[in-house]
Every structure is written in structure tokens, then in C-alpha cells.
Symmetry: C3
Subunit: 223 residues, 3 copies
């Protein structure tokens, strides 16, 4: 399950040592740790990473198969988490330590910046191959962070990008060796940890308003 | 007139050996061949190219001059063809063999990818010079495929870009010699020919929803 | 105060030799000179630059502090000037001679092209540091000219970019030495000075319709 390490002012969100799929419990855990990040007194910045072969392998298809009647509320929760990270009122960077597939890749895209391990792991949107089209919110999130050419190359092909290819296309902002990955990510946000959260949150809400609206509108009636 | 060559699973749409302007008959021909592409059983991918000096020289101004009263329905048909290619449910690539001007350039932009002949031919949006501003749909189509800097450089200047300049700016994804052009384009989509058409079509409809809406809304009342 | 030099067909708008902040009088002066540019008979193109250490240091915070009750109409006027430059019906380029901060940077972004002095001066959006979030119109303007990665890097960090860094990120289209700056900017628009103003204005209005709408909608009731 997700854990948080305090390397003040940088907080390292560890998504886990497994496939780190978006199960309801896992999302609850991530939300609780994001509460800790946002509520931390004084400067704060977020590095999100994981241990092992996966950053995150995306939707929890096994849980979904067992709870088909809850598909819409599940998608709503996934998109709510993505919208929250997209507009988190602290500087954020994903340290992509391994495979980032589907919603796992979207979670990385929701961060302000991305650094990817250079030697192993794939960044991939497999939607075109697994016959799960992007929701409007998920597409808007990805497209809000990529050039049109990078969006077409990654969203319509199912192609798996290793670190150097992901960097060349602009899916990530940089690459690093496995032992330098978290440090390279840390260096991008540590100098920014002192920003006003109200201001930074407002800036991201304004910049990504269209994607946030699409992510929060899943067609699920309000309770 | 347009022709189709079956190099299964890749289908090569040949726009013709003339200026390949968007006459009503030519558009009918292209639509009929796109029907064949989409209806082909089994895997399919589209390479669009032409013979001679032109990929396409754009709107059929001569036909328009003789049918001024049909301007709106003509524009509606041009935009309908562009919207169809933009969301075609198979992988698509334009092999730009020669001049791609105006709507000819837009047709190339509507494809998922573009490869341009390196040694001859120009990619050009002459709208700023011929006093025909882009319609909202045409502008949205082009901007949905380019970085803002590339959109300004190509849409406000009337500049003619040879292959290497077009590649440097990102108007096309690559260049090739004249004898390797179709093969270079083919190589980009052949590995993708097996994608589900329903899924790929849905992905493109979602990614380019704003441009499609603008292209399909030409102010012409529905019949 | 702003001045205009006629180097026909190029008109050089000199923003001043001070900090060139957006005071009401300064904006009145710029608008009057833009009238001269647009009304000039025959071909015309605009180079905007300044003398000294600043291109423009942005909002006139001193004036604002003394006129707090006029904040909304002030913002409306700033955004109106930005919208006007964004859609000016002649080719435009900013020759960024020195610091371009906040609204000063936005004014540069509103031009079709930007060339920046290579050796001195910073391009900076300090909003994240001075606790003034971007208005929706200002954010839309900047984002209409930048890749998503460049928008995040410049709008969420408060980072100051020297010329080479600004060029590498795409904030500006080129750099030049101090003595070649205006000539380098001039060379980008002089060949374009003969475009039809009606056509070029219509093209920019269409391309940047979303940003223009956001800039012109400041929540201030019409008089």
C-alpha cells in the first residue's frame, strides 16, 4: 500500500512495491497521504514514485470484473484522483521508476513534471489495444500536458516508450539512472517548495480548467 | 481521379496525378474509397499519397467561381471530408509527394501522421496571401495537430515549407527521398493495422472533439 | 512614454526607457500608437521593443495600490490591450531588450513572434511568487502560444529565464546580441508587411478566439 516519507520539505509518496493498481483501497490510501502533504505546515513539494518493476499498472481490472455494477462510480473516483493531483497546491513531480501503463501513465501526466528511469520500464497508453477508449476527462488530462504530435503518437498506437524515447517525445521531462531517479525528481521541486499553496493551486486550476471540468464530469449523478 | 491500391493490410489512396483539387466529383471519389478502406475485412491502415508534382492543391477555385451560389454547401463538404479523415477508425498517414497547399495541406494534417518528400514540393497555407481566412473548423483542425509556434509560423505567414523545414517545424513527422516516401509512410502504420476500428475511431473522436465539432458546424442549415 | 519610429514598412514601437509598467497613461499611449500602425497607408508590420534594462516590468502595482477601487476596470484595460496585440491585423514581433516580467511577458507573448536579447535580461512570470494568480484570460493568452511543458515550466515556478533558456523552452523564437536585436526582429516581419489587414486580423481572431474571449470577459459589467 502507499506510504509517505518525509524528506522535508520534499514528501515522497511511494505508490507501493506491487503493480500499484487503482483499487478503491489504494486510492483511499493515496488520498489520505495527499491530505498529509497538503496539510503539512511550512514548505512542501511532492515526489511520487514506487518500488520494483511498476510505477503503476493502471486500473484494477480484477476488482472491476468483480464489481461491474460499480463501474461508473469507480471511474468517477479514478478521475477525481487524477484531477486532484493535476491541481495539487504544491509542486509535484513523478519519478517513474518502472512501468506506467494506462491510468498509471495518466497519474504521472497529472504531475507538474516527470522524470523516468532511463534503463528499464515502459510508459504506455494501451487503450487502443485493450479496447477501452479514453474517457473525455482522461483524454483531456493527457492532451493538456503533451504536444499534439506526442498525444497522437502515444494515445492512438498503444506504443510502449522506454525512458529515452519517452523523453524524446516529451512524455517525460528527463531521465535518470535507477539510483539517481528520486534525487533527480527531488531537484526539480525542492527549490519550489515554498510557494503559496493558495496561489499555486489557483494557477493550476486556471491553467487546467478544461481538463478538470472533463475529469469531474463523469456522467455520474451527484449523490 | 482518386484510386485505391491494396497492399494488405495497408491501403494506398492515390489522390491522382493532377493538381488533385477538391472538386465535388473528386471528393465523392475519395469518400467512396474511404468506404472501401473502412469496410475492408480484417486489419487495415491508410497511406494517402498522389503522383506527380502535387499532393493536393486545395480548393477547386475554378469550380467555385462557376458555382458561387453553392459556396456554403461546398465548404460543408470539404470540412466533412476533413472531419472524416481526422477521425477515420484506422491508422492513417499522408505521404506528401509534392505540393500540399491550403485544403491539401489540411487533408495531410487530418491524418494521424505525415511524411514528406525531402527534395521537392512545398507545404503551404496560403490563406493570408489569397485573402481567404481559415474557417473556424479549418483553423481548429490545423491547430489540433501543431504546436502554437508552428501554427503561427504556418497560418499567419503564407510561407512555403520544403520538406526539411516542414519537419523542423513539426508540420510533418518525417521526410524521405522520393523513392522511399510511400515505404516510409507505410512503415508508420502497417504495425498498427490490427487495432479495433471501434476503439480507434472512438479515441480520435474524443481527442479531436473540438475540431470535429467546428468542422461539422459550418452554419449551413441541416437539410 | 511610448514612441513610434517609422522604418517603413516596419514600425518600431518603443515602450520607453524606464520600467515601462502598465500605467493607465502608458496604456493610452500604446493604444494611440497602435492606431497609427493599423491606420498606416500601405504595408505595415510592428516591432515592439524598449530602451534600457526593461522591456516591461508588468502591472503598475504602485498605481494600483493608490486606486484599489479601480482594480477591475484596470485589469479590463490590461487584458483589452493584450487582446488587441494578440489579434493586431499586421505582422507583429517583440524584440525583448531586457526584463519582461508578468504582464510585460504577456505583452511579448501576445505578439506573433518573439526575439530576445541573448546576454542580459529575464523573461519571467512571477505570479506564483507574488501571490497574484493568472486571470483566466491571461493564462489562456500564454497557453495559446506555448507547448504545455513550457507553460508549466514558466507559469507554475516563477523561474526567470535568460535568453538562451527562454529560447530552448520555446518562450521566444530566437535570440540576438544587443546590437542586432531589433534587426533580427525586423527581419521576421518585414517580408510579411504586405498582407491584407482584414485577412490577417480575421485569421488571428479565429486562431485565438478562446483566449480573446477570456481576455475580453473580465467579469466587469459593460458600461
Amino acid at each position: 500500500m502507499p506510504e509517505l516519507r518525509d524528506d522535508g520539505p520534499v514528501l515522497v509518496l511511494d505508490l507501493g512495491d506491487d503493480e500499484n493498481r487503482f483499487s478503491p483501497d489504494w486510492m483511499d490510501g493515496v488520498h489520505a497521504l495527499l491530505d498529509t502533504v497538503v496539510d503539512r505546515p511550512g514548505p512542501a513539494a511532492l515526489v511520487t514514485t514506487a518500488r520494483g518493476r511498476f510505477f503503476s499498472n493502471g486500473l484494477d481490472l480484477e476488482w472491476l470484473a468483480a464489481h461491474e455494477d460499480r463501474l461508473l462510480t469507480y471511474v468517477e473516483r479514478v478521475q477525481g484522483l487524477l484531477a486532484r493531483v493535476l491541481t495539487l497546491p504544491v509542486p509535484t513531480v513523478a519519478a517513474v521508476n518502472g512501468h506506467a501503463f494506462g491510468a498509471g501513465g495518466m497519474l504521472a501526466m497529472a504531475h507538474d513534471f516527470r522524470v523516468m528511469r532511463a534503463d528499464r520500464g515502459y510508459f504506455c497508453f494501451p487503450e487502443a489495444d485493450i479496447d477501452i477508449p479514453f474517457t473525455p476527462g482522461m483524454a483531456a488530462l493527457i492532451q493538456s500536458k503533451l504536444t499534439p504530435a506526442a498525444a497522437v503518437a502515444s494515445m492512438t498506437t498503444g506504443r510502449r516508450f522506454g525512458g529515452p524515447d519517452a523523453h524524446a517525445l516529451g512524455l517525460v521531462d528527463g531521465t535518470a539512472g535507477p539510483d539517481e531517479l528520486v534525487a533527480a525528481a527531488d531537484a526539480r521541486v525542492r527549490p519550489l517548495a515554498g510557494k503559496s499553496r493558495a496561489t499555486l493551486g489557483a494557477i493550476k486550476e486556471t491553467m487546467f480548467a478544461a481538463a478538470v471540468t472533463a475529469l469531474r464530469d463523469t456522467g455520474v449523478p451527484a449523490a
